[in-house]
């Protein structure tokens, strides 16, 4: 019944390609995530962006177990597995024994290597990169900005080609520290607008008590600064022992 299967594929493919990040407050704000979406998580160092990414990855694996490729450029594979295990309440052994559909690479430093990796693993549905500024590109560009823009545009192509959800963490400019108001803004993503342009959703993490020591606000502020498909705004998460909770 090829015609029936064809019709079913069309309907079910469209239906299955919507996901939540696993946080009620954030999901209510940003809505369902579809495949071919790039989400950027930006924060100054020490705000917990890697930890937040790890929590989102575990949520997605727990809820959907989509084949996930995690490119860790800032932590060793052992450290990352240990962190993910503590969030998921699984042992390191269980994680390594592939309880999850998770593939971790800590030695893919180049966009061309990443392209090859995805070509060889076409089943990958979620790609996480921590953090994007550590991914290198071609040496043929005359400026770092051009090379960075090329990396990002190639990521955009990959998202479309493989119908990926791409989660990127990003460093923010030091200019944040020079302002009176330390809450991150889109312009803090860097000197070029390339990351802003390719991102469908941009979230920033901010801790008021990081800057204002006497602050009693211990919550993590999640600022949704761009959302191509829905609302923007601010919501909050609790952070305790490596875990973010609503």
């Amino acid at each position: 019944m090829a015609t029936i299967e064809k019709l079913k594929d069309i309907v079910l493919e469209n239906d299955s390609a919507s996901y939540n990040l696993g946080y009620k407050n954030i999901d209510n704000l940003i809505g369902e995530i579809k495949s071919n979406t790039i989400i950027t998580i930006g924060a100054r160092p020490g705000m917990g962006k890697t930890s937040f990414l790890n929590n989102v990855i575990i949520n997605l694996l727990n809820n959907y177990n989509l084949p996930t490729l995690y490119i860790s450029l800032d932590s060793s594979k052992e450290k990352l597995i240990s962190d993910l295990a503590s969030i998921s309440n699984k042992s390191v052994k269980e994680l390594q024994n592939n309880d999850y559909n998770l593939y971790i690479s800590a030695n893919c430093f180049n966009i061309s290597d990443l392209e090859k990796l995805l070509e060889e693993n076409e089943d990958i549905k979620v790609l996480a990169i921590d953090y994007i500024q550590l991914l290198s590109g071609k040496n043929t560009f005359t400026s770092m900005a051009d090379s960075y823009s090329d990396i990002l545009s190639r990521l955009k192509v990959m998202a479309e080609k493989y119908k990926l959800i791409i989660l990127l963490t990003s460093q923010l400019s030091r200019n944040v520290e020079l302002r009176m108001d330390k809450e991150p803004q889109i312009k803090d993503l860097g000197k070029t607008s390339a990351l802003e342009e390719i991102s469908d959703i941009i979230m920033f993490l901010y801790h008021e008590d990081y800057y204002i020591k006497e602050s009693k606000n211990k919550l993590t502020e999640v600022i949704v600064a761009k959302n191509r498909y829905g609302k923007t705004g601010i919501t909050y998460l609790n952070y305790k022992e490596n875990k973010y909770i609503d």
């Binding site: 019944m1 015609t3 029936i4 079913k8 069309i10 309907v11 079910l12 469209n14 239906d15 299955s16």
Partner: protein, 129 residues
Amino acid sequence: MIKKKDNNIDTNYISNIGDIYGNVKDVTLKAKLITIRVFEFTDTIMCILNFYDNTGKISSFLINDKDADFKNLIKSLTVDNTYLVKGNITDIDEDYISDFKKETNANLEDYLISGKVFLIKAIKESGGE
């Protein structure tokens, strides 16, 4: 899988049938069910549901694996009731209709009331509000 009746359907984007032009994604319609035709295959159930509102008529496909939940969903559908249906609108081409006839001996044209087809992703009763 097809979302069941209790799933939330975003009601912010309700369109009138008469306003639909071209192939569009993620449309929500509020319309009255006027006919149901069920086709059962080995592993799959396909329904052709025809809807109308005061601006026009449209045919829709509701299709899923043949499981108990889906059978219950179909059983619960009632002609003359009003539903919120969410999905994508697409044109159905003549090749598809002829291939379908070859495989199933059923002539889709006998059941479709429009050339445009609504591919249902979620459905829930609206209570005629």
